[in-house]
């Protein structure tokens, strides 16, 4: 398949066939990750800048490992070690980076639209590793791939996302990807953590977790930021955990064989019961494993283009 995209800004740019193609490639790369010698020369001579203006562990390490396993040279740049702290504008920072001729910039930024903004300024490829509350396409693709590996198909499945949807780029990208692949999506959160005009989203909305979990195949828990309580969106974590924390009892209401995912990092005992996170029902570490393979596939497609 000829890869027609220059940038990956969000999953809604991708056709269904293109998503399937990413999954197919990811499956091949997953095999490399299970070898004793986990390195192939595919991207030798390519440079990838990992520009993380917001803290991140798993996404950055995942991209770094993905690049290195394909023999690309990866360079990490974080906000604390960059001139952004000295008041340089984002435009100037990325133009400076571009002048060093990387082939691709992977960006994580706290502002929604930041990836599209830098893509409009640069000649090299831009991969969005999370921009504000807007999008996290590589997370959605790794979630989709994890489920594809688990189920074979997503079509006809019921997926529930629980938690802070309003401020979640993962939720936004997941909803787009899952619905594109034929799954049905439900959201569950207190009204204060739901996005405005959620009625315009292709989802069913629940305020009661007990109702929401009935008959679902998968539950995705989202991380609850402590900041939400400070902003007055919640009384406290205790009450949140009591009303929206996912526990083993909820899985009993779901379909038999239902699984649990979490994009991480987890607050054990807040949005997810600790025992459940470690149980056979959890795909959380499988998501991390898939993440490297999916990001290898993406680096390959965006750097080689075929």
């Amino acid at each position: 398949m000829h890869w027609r995209h220059k940038h990956l800004l969000d999953v809604d740019q991708l056709e269904k066939e293109e998503i399937e193609h990413i999954f197919e490639l990811a499956r091949n790369f997953k095999e490399i990750n299970n070898r004793p010698v986990k390195k192939v020369p595919t991207l030798k001579g390519k440079s990838v800048v990992l520009f993380f203006a917001e803290p991140s562990t798993r996404t950055r390490v995942s991209f770094d490992i993905a690049g290195k396993r394909l023999s690309a040279d990866t360079f990490s740049l974080s906000k604390s070690g960059s001139s952004l702290l000295k008041g340089e504008s984002l435009k100037d920072t990325v133009l400076t980076l571009q002048a060093m001729r990387p082939d691709c910039i992977v960006i994580r930024h706290q502002f929604s639209g930041a990836a599209a903004f830098i893509a409009s300024k640069l000649n090299c490829s831009v991969i969005n590793a999370g921009d504000g509350w807007h999008a996290h396409p590589t997370q959605a693709l790794l979630d989709g791939f994890t489920l594809k590996e688990e189920w074979g198909e997503l079509a006809g499945r019921e997926i529930l996302i629980v938690g802070d949807i309003a401020h979640s780029r993962v939720a936004r990208s997941d909803v787009k990807l899952f619905t594109k692949l034929g799954a049905r999506v439900r959201l569950c959160a207190p009204r204060t953590l739901l996005p405005p005009r959620v009625d315009t989203w292709p989802v069913k909305v629940y305020s009661s977790l007990e109702e929401a979990v009935k008959g679902v195949d998968l539950i995705i828990c989202l991380r609850l930021q402590l900041e939400r309580q400070e902003k007055g969106l919640l009384p406290d974590l205790r009450e949140y955990s009591w009303r929206y924390g996912l526990g083993l009892k909820h899985l009993k209401l779901a379909r038999p064989g239902a699984k649990v995912m979490h994009p991480g990092p987890m607050n054990r005992g807040v949005e997810i019961n600790s025992e459940l996170a470690d149980s056979q029902k959890s795909l959380i570490l499988e998501q991390v494993h898939s993440g490297v393979a999916v990001r290898m596939a993406l680096l390959y497609l965006y750097l080689v283009g075929a």
Binding site: F111, S112, A114, H134, P196, T200, W201
Partner: protein
């Protein structure tokens, strides 16, 4: 009747007319040819005649932010845009909260443009626009301020706002309120709704505006003192103002061309040029505003001209400053509304000249004998591209950038004198 100048080949309200000028004033507007032997004749080239417009809400940025705009560039944009008078807001640096700043602005404008356009400073309602203590309103009025406003920084303290409104009323000047509840709008980037939800941006709900509109209406009713509501952007505010007017409560209101031609949809690609406060709303709001202008629920049009430097808008949307540069484009955008059948020529005269003059006690040319001969001749069919070359404002921050607009001032006369010509 003797004239200094006769203007022929012009149209006014759909009719071919002739305009006679004497000593800077209108002498006669007539359907018959006023040409007299020995009196110079000016060929209006088929242009449409309008009184000079008044823009009751601009930011000229001087003193303090001359890199965005200064009085020279701002007034040049006004002149070329068809405005003979502008009311300049107080959020300069230093803030216009003392006579020295007011006097500086007035002096600078008169030095640069002795024949006009006129700059009318709007004094700060509270000291430093901080919303904590009343500014020296008497001093500001005496220095030449034509209204008071805390524009840009809403006054949340109801008691302080009430006292400011009362005090200003004694001075015979109107208070222009920027209607926004700062807690409800905090950290908001665009309209709260479908688009903010999709883009993952903190929204500014319409209730942040309408709640303050309701406060102002109730206050105006209680005090029986007129209040002017700035840049109204949503349907709920329109409904409240309609109710107030029905009750005879003395409020007036304004809106801007961008709220009449654009909606939040234009922000789908995080277009920083369309970031403005209050934000662009929905189609329903746009329709409500258009209807309100026709029925007089909203009294006047203003540009809320808010120029910024290019680099300030070349940032992610959340970081970009609010504001649209409007003086250069307002007339063409108004004519677009006329072509669409939303507003008539008379509406434009009422909204851009007659009513603002009444509200702020300014000069209005109704083309009656003795009126100051401030008028524009507009080439309604002239197509032009919004660009570096066609904009006089330093602020190129307009969502209409690069678009072809129709209608341009060909000649601008102030006190009977040709002060601007489009070449």
């Amino acid at each position: 009747m003797n004239f200094d100048l006769v203007i022929n080949n012009i149209k006014f309200l759909g009719q071919r007319v002739f305009l006679g000028i004497k000593e800077g004033k209108i002498a006669e507007l007539s359907f018959k040819d006023l040409s007299i032997e020995g009196v110079p004749v000016f060929d209006g080239q088929g242009c449409t005649l309008f009184p000079s417009f008044i823009d009751a809400h601009v930011h000229l940025r001087e003193p303090g932010f001359e890199y965005k705009e200064d009085i020279e560039s701002g007034l040049k944009a006004a002149l070329a845009g068809g405005f003979g008078q502008v009311l300049a807001m107080a959020n300069t640096n230093p803030v216009n909260d003392k006579a020295s700043v007011t006097e500086f602005m007035l002096t600078r404008a008169r030095e640069l443009y002795p024949s006009g356009p006129s700059l009318h400073p709007v004094g700060a309602l509270t000291r430093g626009l901080q919303g904590e203590e009343m500014a020296p309103l008497g001093e500001l009025a005496q220095a030449g301020c034509k209204a008071f406003s805390n524009d840009g920084l809403p006054v949340k303290n109801n008691e302080l706002f009430r006292r400011c409104v009362e005090y200003a009323h004694d001075l015979g000047l109107l208070v222009i309120d920027h209607c926004e509840d700062p807690d409800l709008s905090e950290a908001g980037v665009i309209n709260e709704g479908k688009m903010s939800s999709y883009l993952g941006l903190k929204g500014i709900p319409t209730v942040a505006e309408s709640l303050q509109v309701a406060r102002d209406i109730l206050l105006a009713a209680y005090l029986d003192i007129p209040l002017h509501l700035a840049h109204i952007s949503c349907k709920e505010s329109v409904e409240l103002i309609a109710w107030a007017k029905e009750k005879g409560i003395p409020v007036s209101a304004e809106t801007c061309p961008h709220y009449l031609l654009l909606t939040e949809e234009i922000l789908a690609d995080y277009n920083t040029l369309a970031k403005v406060n209050p934000p662009l709303r929905t189609e329903e709001d746009r329709q409500a505003l258009l209807a309100a202008l026709r029925t007089g629920v909203i009294d006047i049009l203003v540009t809320d001209h808010a120029p910024h430097a290019d680099f300030e808008k070349e940032v992610p949307l959340a970081q970009a400053p609010n504001g649209i540069s409007g003086l250069d484009t307002a007339l063409a955008l108004s004519l677009e509304l006329k072509r669409q059948g939303q507003l008539q020529e008379q509406d434009l005269i009422r909204l851009w000249a007659e009513t603002p003059a009444t509200l702020f006690n300014l000069n209005f040319n109704s083309f009656k004998p003795g009126d100051r001969a401030d008028f524009i001749l507009v080439d309604e069919s002239k197509k032009w591209v919004v660009s570096e070359k066609t904009m006089y404002s330093k602020g190129k921050n307009t969502p209409f950038w690069g678009q072809t607009l129709r209608g341009k001032v060909k000649y601008h006369f102030l006190e009977g004198k040709l002060v601007y010509e489009d070449k």
